[in-house]
Subunit: 287 residues, 2 copies
């Protein structure tokens, strides 16, 4: 199976897992939540599943942890797209939740997706102390010292007097997108009570490579393929890895980071090839 096929296969399994947490018939609130969380590449879910396989977590429990992180990721997109935030009408080629429903529903669907993430984590069939570690980690990585802080700093950067430096952008992105990628890639050792250091190192490099690739796509990508509005940061005069390093410099940095991510996997054998493929995918993807 190619990497793309395995990614799709995990995405389908995670969507099926998510489905079990929704009621039928659904309230409009739940329809909006499902709309937001179903579909998409589900790269974070893939990282969770591969990380769990490396550390002996049962596949079914890995899928639940994967479903949890995708709920957090989906909620962050729904809220980021709001008019008072990034004001986006399109996401994954479809109208954003506040366009398909309304702003109140988007706020509430995002809120309930965050709750659902912690509910799903709570239902994992692993020792309770491992669940607690995973909850603490997710609450930290998603919250005021992780993803939300990165988002708040990103918004503040829009009205700052000067564009951010390379160092400041790197720190900001480590929070905004890096924190959830780190949680995902370290889910296996966290839930198994093993050492998270190698996968944390992998994730730190991968997260940054991912964001640099995003900035490159924002500059060179095809809006129709990507399914969202592009060139927004550049139009807003915000610093990006491309504006600071140029396309070539950004590509070189992303490649170096992917090599670094793969180096961090050296203690794992061929079982970690899924994570190696994911790292290579991150800088070669077209959407």
């Amino acid at each position: 199976m190619t990497f793309q096929d395995r990614l799709k296969s995990v995405a389908a399994e995670v969507d099926a897992t998510l489905e079990t947490y929704f009621n039928a018939p659904a309230e409009p609130l739940e329809d909006a939540m499902r709309y937001a969380v179903m579909g998409g590449k589900k790269l974070r879910a893939f990282l969770v599943v591969e990380s769990c396989a490396l550390h002996g977590i049962k596949h079914q429990e890995a899928l639940k942890a994967a479903a949890a992180i995708e709920c957090i990721h989906a909620y962050s997109l729904v809220h980021d797209d709001l008019p008072s935030m990034d004001d986006d009408d399109l996401r994954r080629g479809k109208p954003t939740v506040h366009k398909a429903w309304d702003e109140a529903t988007a706020v509430l669907a995002g809120d309930a997706l965050q709750s659902l993430a912690f509910l799903i984590l709570g239902t994992l069939d692993v020792p309770s102390d491992r669940i607690v570690q995973a909850v603490i980690g997710l609450a930290t990585d998603a919250g005021k010292d992780g993803m939300v802080l990165g988002q708040a700093r990103d918004i503040a950067a829009e009205s700052a007097d000067a564009p951010l430096s390379l160092e400041a952008i790197t720190a900001l992105q480590a929070q905004k997108t890096g924190a959830l990628i780190r949680w995902s890639a370290t889910a296996g050792p966290t839930l198994a009570g093993d050492d998270v250091a190698p996968l944390a190192a992998y994730a730190t490099a991968l997260g940054l490579a991912f964001q640099i690739a995003d900035d490159i796509l924002d500059e060179t990508g095809d809006e129709a393929k990507i399914g969202k509005r592009l060139h927004k940061d550049a139009d807003a005069g915000k610093a990006t890895f491309v504006s600071l390093l140029g396309i070539k410099g950004a590509q070189d940095m992303a490649c170096a980071l992917v090599a670094q991510a793969n180096d961090a996997l050296c203690i794992y054998d061929a079982q970690a090839d899924g994570l190696r493929d994911a790292a290579n995918f991150v800088i070669s993807r077209e959407h």
Copy 2:
């Protein structure tokens, strides 16, 4: 000590507990979070503390559980006040978060308060399986089958063709405000692994009495004392307990519910007097 003094004392202790989870110096995001969660009556926190004392949970751990539920309550108020939701400028006599900062900060501060609630729960020094039960309970009561569902249904009721029936309002309020009150009042037995039934019965009656009292205050209260805009539901033509039962009928129902709440406490001795006082307070308060 009078009930009011004990309520104030718990509120101060919970604020001090919350303070330990914030960084100094704080980001603007954290300033907004602190602004939203500090102060207020902290009735839910009081219920947690009393419930925990009845079931032998250490006071310091009870304060953490109380801090967690107040983070959820505060986040729900910040998001409910947004222009796309209830559009309120005033809360507890102060500008709402989106007025004091901006809408994006209000969305993000609410999001991060929800994460913080689960982080704080994760740090409780009780057996891990009890923490997991508390996490599952909070994620359920706060999410798409609890508080957020109630809020979504409340908003939908505004544009419905006909006002809600007494039965429908009772069900809606059991979710919107009842779910968090139930979690609070049952926190002690949940964290101790004891039977939650008596306190759940207490909380169900109390939660409804609380909402009826709120509707009465909305009709008869003093805007300056309460610190928020009143008569909104009536002005919007929405059904309330007062519009359905009249002031006298609503008062009678609230009194009967408080008696019912106190009956549910019959298995507890004088140690439960704090919860009895809380029930009486709920229908006698002026704000």
